[in-house]
Symmetry: C2
Amino acid sequence: MTDAAKPDDRAAAELRGEHWIAGEASRGGGDAFHGVDPTSSERLEPAYFDAGDAELERAALAAVSAAPRLASARADRAALLEAIADEIMALGDSLLERCERETALPRARLVGERGRTTSQLRMFAAVVRDGGYVDARIDRGDPERSPAPRPDVRRMLHPLGPVAVFGASNFPLAFSVAGGDTAAALAAGCPAIVKGHPAHPGTSELVARAITAAVKKVGLPAGVFSLLHGRGRALGAKLVQHPAIKAVGFTGSLAGGRALFDLAAARPEPIPVFAEMGSVNPVFIMPGAMRARSAAIAAGLGRSVSLGVGQFCTNPGLVFVAGEDGLEAFTASLARTLSQTPVCVMLHEGIWTDYIQRVALQRQLPGVTMIAGGPAVPFPANGSCSVKPVGLLTDLETYESSPRLLEEVFGPVTVIIKCPDVAALEAVAAGLPGQLTATVHAERGEAGDAATLARVLGERAGRVIFNGFPTGVEVCHAMHHGGPYPATTDARATSVGSAAITRFLRPVCYQDFPAALLPAELRDENPGGLLRMVDGTCTREPVTSR
Amino acid sequence: MTDAAKPDDRAAAELRGEHWIAGEASRGGGDAFHGVDPTSSERLEPAYFDAGDAELERAALAAVSAAPRLASARADRAALLEAIADEIMALGDSLLERCERETALPRARLVGERGRTTSQLRMFAAVVRDGGYVDARIDRGDPERSPAPRPDVRRMLHPLGPVAVFGASNFPLAFSVAGGDTAAALAAGCPAIVKGHPAHPGTSELVARAITAAVKKVGLPAGVFSLLHGRGRALGAKLVQHPAIKAVGFTGSLAGGRALFDLAAARPEPIPVFAEMGSVNPVFIMPGAMRARSAAIAAGLGRSVSLGVGQFCTNPGLVFVAGEDGLEAFTASLARTLSQTPVCVMLHEGIWTDYIQRVALQRQLPGVTMIAGGPAVPFPANGSCSVKPVGLLTDLETYESSPRLLEEVFGPVTVIIKCPDVAALEAVAAGLPGQLTATVHAERGEAGDAATLARVLGERAGRVIFNGFPTGVEVCHAMHHGGPYPATTDARATSVGSAAITRFLRPVCYQDFPAALLPAELRDENPGGLLRMVDGTCTREPVTSR
C-alpha cells in the first residue's frame, strides 16, 4: 500500500451521488434513484442520477483522447492496476459497510470478494509486465528469395480502444466497477467506461474514487476511466451504440446480454460484445458415484446450490442421476442440507421477484415435486427479499417436455432429474444448449462412460468439472469462464482468468519496418525478454539477422 | 506425392457439374448456371445447379456427424491437409486449364497461386502436428490451500464445429474450395462446407474431387468436407443460418460480408463471421521519400496497382502525397507505368461492370483528373471483360468532400491525393475507416514524422508497410491479414497465416480431471512435447506434482 492511500481519510468520506467522468465528479443527468437495503427495503442516501447524453459524451471524448497514451504505456498500466488494488484496500471498512447495506451479502463474503478483486488486478499487472500476452511474432525477411523477396513481417496485439463495462449485481466488487472486465480492459490498454449497476451505486461510487485516485497517482490521462450511473436501459444502449466504444464486457441475464449484442451487431461499425449470461450448469451423477458417496455429493451440492444465496452464474441448477440406486438417500440428504440453510436475503427486489416467480412455475409443472424449501417469505410483507433454498425432483419425461427447466433460475434452487440409465445421461448431455460449466461425478470403475460423457459435455460447456461443484471460479491462467451460446455471446472468450485480456486486443502487423519505428516488443534485441515466436519457434532470445 | 494420385488419370477426368457432398457426387438442386470465359463471354460446359435444401441438409448432417472424430484426430488432420495438397498437384494441368478459362488469370499466376494453396495446406499441417496452437494451460491444484483447496485447472482450444466457407472469385485456388479458410477450418478440426464461387464452378469441382479423395485416403469420415454450388444468394443465406454451422469464413465485398454478418448475428444462436471485405489500402508518401525516389515509388506503385488486374483486396486505391516537390515526376512516372500495362481481362462480367461504373463515377467528380487509362473497352462489344489500369489525381479538398473516394473500387485504379504537408497526411490518416493495410514511404531523415504516421495508421489498419507495397500477402506466422471494420467483421482475426486457425477454436477447461480422462495435450507427461503454460510459465517439460 502506498503513502497516498490513507484508510482513515477514506472511511470518513461521504457518498455524494456522483458519476466519475475522466477524473471529475459530476451529479448531472436525469431521473434520480437510490440504493436500497434488500433486508428492509429501506432507501439509502444519497440520490444518484441517470447519466445523460452530456455525461456520456464527456466520458467518450476523454476515453478516445486517452487511448493512445494508455496503449503505449505498458509499465504504467501495470502500475495503475496495482495502484487501483491499493486504493480499494485503502477504502477500508467504508467500502464493505456500504456494500453490505446495498447487497445484503455477508461481510466475510465481501472481504473475500474484495480479495479476489485486488488479486485479479494484481494478476493482470503481472501479465502486463511479463508482456507475453502481446503474442509477438517475427518472421524474418529474405531479400534473396526468388521469385520475390521475402518481407520482414512482425506482429503483436494492440488494444481495441475504449471498452464499455457493465457492472454486475451479483459481484458488486469482483464483476463491477473495478472487476474482471475493467481490469482486463485496462490491462489490454483500453480505456474503460463503466455503467455502474443501479443496485449498488454507493459501492460503485467508492470504487470509482479509488480508480480515479490511482489514475492520478500513476500519471495516466484521466480519460482512461469513467463511471456513469444509470438505472434505465437507455444509458446502456447509448453506451453500446456510441462510436467511441470498440468492445463491450457484460455479466448478467440472457435477455440483457442478447439485447446489447443485438445493438452492437446492428451498429454501422459492429463491435464485439463479451456477454456472460445464463447457464443451468448441469451436474451428472453416474451410478457408481451415487452408490459410493451419495451423502457427500448431496452435501457438496447443497452447499454449492445455496452458496451466496444461489446468486452465481455457475449455480448448479439441474442434476441428472441414472437409476434409482442410492437416489432416495441422496434426495433426503440434499433436502436436509437445503432445509438447514438459514433464510437468506437476495441482492435486490428484481432478482427476488424473478426467483419467486420462476421457482413457482417450475414447482407447478406436472411431474415436479418439491423435496426442500418452504413457501417463500412474502415481499414486501416484512420488507425483506428473503428466500429459502429449494430442491425439486422430477423425471426425464418431464424434463424433456418442459423447456422451462432449461432456463436459468437465478437463486438457490436445483432440480434433480431421474434418468433411467447412463445412456440417458449421454443423450441428455448431447441435447444441452451451451453452458458455462458441466459436472460429472463418477468412480474409477466407470471411467469409460465418464470419458464419453465428459467429451460430449466438453462440446457444450466452457468448463467441465470432475467430482466437484461448479461454483467457485478459480482466477488463474488456465481458467475458462465462458461457453457456447447462450452461456455467452462469444464462445472464444473468457471473463475470468488471465486469458480474459485477449478479448480486448487485435493484431497489428509491421512489414519491413526500420528498427527505430517498431514497438519495443518487436525489436530484434527483445529488450523486455518476451517469449516470442520467431520464424515459427518460440524463444526469448534476441533475433539475429539471417 | 503419393501413389494414389496419378496426374494422367486426373487430367482425363471430365467435369460433370457436380456438388460433392460428404464424399458423394450429386447434381441435385434448382436453377442451372455455367462458368463463363471472361475473354469471350463464351459459356463453358457443363451446367451446374444451385444446391437446394436437400443438398444443404445432407452436407450439414454429415458435417455434424463427422465433427467429433475430426476434432479428436490431430495427426489425421495433418495427414489430410498434406493429402489435399498432393491431390491438388495430382490434378495436374487440367486444373490450371479450367481455371484459366474461367478466370482469365494467366497460367503463371495460377501456377503461383496453386503453390500458395498447397504451401498453406502444408503450413497448417505443420501447425497441427506441432500442437502448440491448442494453447494448453495448466494450473496445478493445491488441496492444502486455505480457506478453499485450489482446484487443478487445465484448458486447451477445441474446434467450434462445422464451418461455412465462401469461395472468393479473385483467388480461385488460394481463397476458394481448398483455400485458406478451408485449410484453417480443417486444421482446427472443423468440418468445412464450402459454397463454391459461381464464377469458377469447374475449378471448384476439380478441387472438391481432390479433397474428397484425400479424405478417403486418410480414412476420415466423408462428412468433413462438402462443396455446394450456387449462384444466387439463397444458398449462402441458408448456409449461414443453418443450426449446424458454428462459424463462417468469407472473402469478398463489404455488402456481401455485412449481409452474412447480419444474418449470423440475428440467428437464435449467433455465430462468428470472419468476413474479409473492402479496403482502399492507403499509401502515404512523405516528402523526403518523394524527393529521393519518386520514380522508383511510382514504378512499384504502378506494378502493385495493376498486379492481377487490380483484383486484390490489398490493392493500393489511394495515394496521399505531401507537397508538390517531386509530384510532377512521380505522376508522370506512374502514368507511364500504368499506360504501358497491357489490356487485361477481369474475372467476370459482374466485377468488370462494377469497376467500369465506379471508375466513371470517380472520374466525374469535380476536381479529379485522369493521368492514365484510356476509355474502357466496351462490353460486350468484343465479348471481353477487358480493362486498362487507370490513374487519377485530385486534391485534399476533393477527397474530403467525396466520401465515394473511400469506397473500394475492385480493379486496377489508384487515386493520387495532393496534400499540403505532413500534418495533413496525419490528419487524413486519423480519419480513415478500418483498412487491411496502410503504407508509409519515408526516408531516414523524416523518421519522427513517419513514426507518428505509422502509429496512427496502426490504429486503423491490420498491417502497416514501410517503403513497400501492400499487394503480396506473405503466408507466415506473423502475418495479419485483417483489420478494423469495414476491412473485416472481426478485427481480432486474420485470414492469412498460421494464426488464422484460432478463428475456429474455443477454449475448454477441465477441472480436477483424472489423467486418463484428459486430452493427451493436457496430461502431466506432455507426450507430444507441446509448449504449454504451466502455473504461468511456458515450458515443454512434463508437469510434476506440487
